[in-house]
Subunit: 372 residues, 2 copies
């Protein structure tokens, strides 16, 4: 956890900027609005690494240079009562992903289960945005994506796998919904950058150097080092092969099932290559198994068991996946979305370059703690 000075903004003002920014780069207004919603949801939920911080490197640069099609002309290649195979049109991942998840939900309304796989897409932001779309329909939502290679397989030494996130969302009654959204690596690459910036040694188990040996030096992994992140579990002795297996399962369900690029073939967001990122979405209709109210009340019961269980020395609270993010969102809805100074400066610079000045006015100054 680290703290940083921020300025807070009204969501509407930021959204207006993001929409204008993408429109200027040739993205239709309705698509720009979707991208803005997904990116701002990340900042709202306290995951700045996937928020406006990414607007230029992940999306702006790719649109300006023609690496990605601003029109995102996605199309359904084939479908059945339960499944869809979708071509993302080498456009904005958010746009095709909202379409694909909605389609999985529609199929699940009729057939109780719906799966969409998407190939020829690009980075889609926070995985949980799409899994959570299922909640309002009383469904369980699942969202997976592969991504550019940053993670070494167990016994390997170079980045072959993406941080391939897994998100699962399940509705509850009075408690916050369960929303797991995790990279299958120990940590995201952004955390290495934070430690490098703070000139701190990395915790043991996060990554390896260019010989495949565990390192605690951030520079061995980033900034010219050619090491790699480790999969969840870290070293072999702490079962890193499980995180490696999970990351590979994500690649198979997204890329092999849809016929997209796998592993190290997936492109980097800032490089002149067709990324060919792929995604997997699923919706499961709870009512097919039992009354939704019973499911939701038992979810509350499950949360209660965890909350009331004995705490480790020095800890006074046990969290449920997604809980911190829901609390962040509530706070940020009231106080405004926090943007770090560096992010703000980049937004101004990138806005000016594109021809969309950043004119949003901060509503307050604050200090924020980040979990990642």
């Amino acid at each position: 956890m680290y703290t940083e000075e921020v300025l807070r903004f009204k969501k509407e003002e930021l959204k207006e900027f993001v929409i204008e920014y993408f429109k200027k780069l040739g993205v239709p207004e309705d698509h720009s609005s979707i991208v803005a919603d997904v990116m701002l949801e990340a900042d709202l939920r306290g995951i700045p690494s996937h928020g406006l911080m990414r607007i230029n490197m992940y999306y702006g640069v790719r649109l300006e240079n023609g690496y990605m099609d601003p029109k995102t002309s996605y199309k359904v290649i084939s479908e059945s009562d339960t499944t869809s195979l979708i071509d993302g049109g080498n456009g904005l991942g958010h746009v095709v992903s909202v379409f694909a998840m909605n389609r999985a939900i529609e199929k699940a309304k009729k057939s109780n289960v719906g799966i969409s796989v998407v190939k020829n897409s690009d980075h889609y932001g926070i995985a949980a945005y799409y899994s959570m779309m299922a909640l309002q329909h009383n469904m369980i939502g699942i969202s997976l994506s592969n991504s550019q290679p940053l993670v070494a397989p167990t016994y390997g030494k170079t980045p072959i796998l993406g941080t391939n996130p897994i998100s699962i969302a399940c509705p509850s009654y009075e408690a916050y919904p369960f929303v797991l959204d995790m990279a299958t690596s120990v940590v995201p690459s952004g955390k290495i950058q934070v430690y490098e910036k703070l000139k701190q040694k990395l915790p043991y188990g996060w990554g390896i150097n260019n010989e495949g040996v565990m390192t605690q030096e951030p520079k061995d992994i980033k900034s010219g080092g050619c090491g790699a992140l480790l999969p969840l579990g870290g070293d072999d002795i702490t079962s890193g092969y499980k995180g490696y297996g999970l990351a590979l399962a994500v690649d198979i369900l997204c890329a092999v099932l849809s016929g997209a690029s796998v592993l190290s073939e997936v492109g980097f967001p800032d490089k002149p290559k067709h990324c060919d990122v792929s995604h997997f979405f699923m919706a499961i209709n709870i009512e097919a198994f039992r009354p939704v109210i019973d499911f939701k009340k038992q979810m509350d019961h499950l949360v209660e068991i965890l909350k009331n269980s004995p705490k480790a020395k020095g800890k006074d609270r046990i969290y449920i996946a997604g809980e911190k993010e829901f609390e962040n969102a509530e706070k940020n809805k009231t106080l405004g979305i926090p943007l770090m100074m560096k992010v703000l400066n980049d937004l101004k610079k990138d806005g000016d370059r594109v021809g969309v000045p950043f004119t949003a006015k901060p509503v307050m100054k604050d200090i924020c703690s980040w979990y990642q």
Copy 2:
């Protein structure tokens, strides 16, 4: 990894013993045959912790004492074109699980996706047995189960979650299929017992003592200690909350979706309580998305990329999930299924008590290395 002296037996001879053992305890012959297949598959694949080692404590004791119904009178409570909710009849988990996975596969043949959830069941052995049933139908198989509480949630100090396994199986063309089968804890409890027996300190990150503090003493966790295993990822700083989130997702998909016992409510196999273990099975028809041959050939391509990628210092091979187990199975099919001396002595003792003498003749003596 540790090595131990073993005697090897023909599978058929062991299977005959297991069938007679369960028949004597009131289990119908066809059910006994299923249980024997699942248990022997574990020994065959080099996972002795889930093989005949468990026959008495996990199943025999429960049947003898009437904690579990030997008839396993499972029944379908409700169903749709894609889903089944099944009551396991408080019987042998293997029996209802084979039924439930076959049912998911049948649904997937017609509807491309099939899901079965099972409540009121018991321990089902290796999760991969069921996910792998999908392979011969050119489907992706998924198998999840909750289990008795052994794992602490992040910031907790007592066992609340099971080791809740996740198994995903995907067919390939010439390469071995991808078969992930992992507990969502760092290690299974059996590994703590091995270290205790060998009088070795535990690696850092496997478990906590009764104050919730990381321990390297096996006795803090087992044998009267009241600590707990940690979820995959271990400590918070190495993202143990991700393994905790995965374990919780398994509990939700198995128990909350079916209306079974959750978390610490699930019973221990050796205690006089209705276990109420629950399972989740899914089959996905690959042909719904793309020609199976294309999927399988791309699986081989994915395996090739991993196999050919640079190795870490001191390592000469990168593995794919399931590969070690397939190699074990090939070896053990030829040489015979290895049983450790202690397991053999227990089988003799338990067989005599039940009235089914263990008369299988070893085909050879050997030394085996175990990964768990």
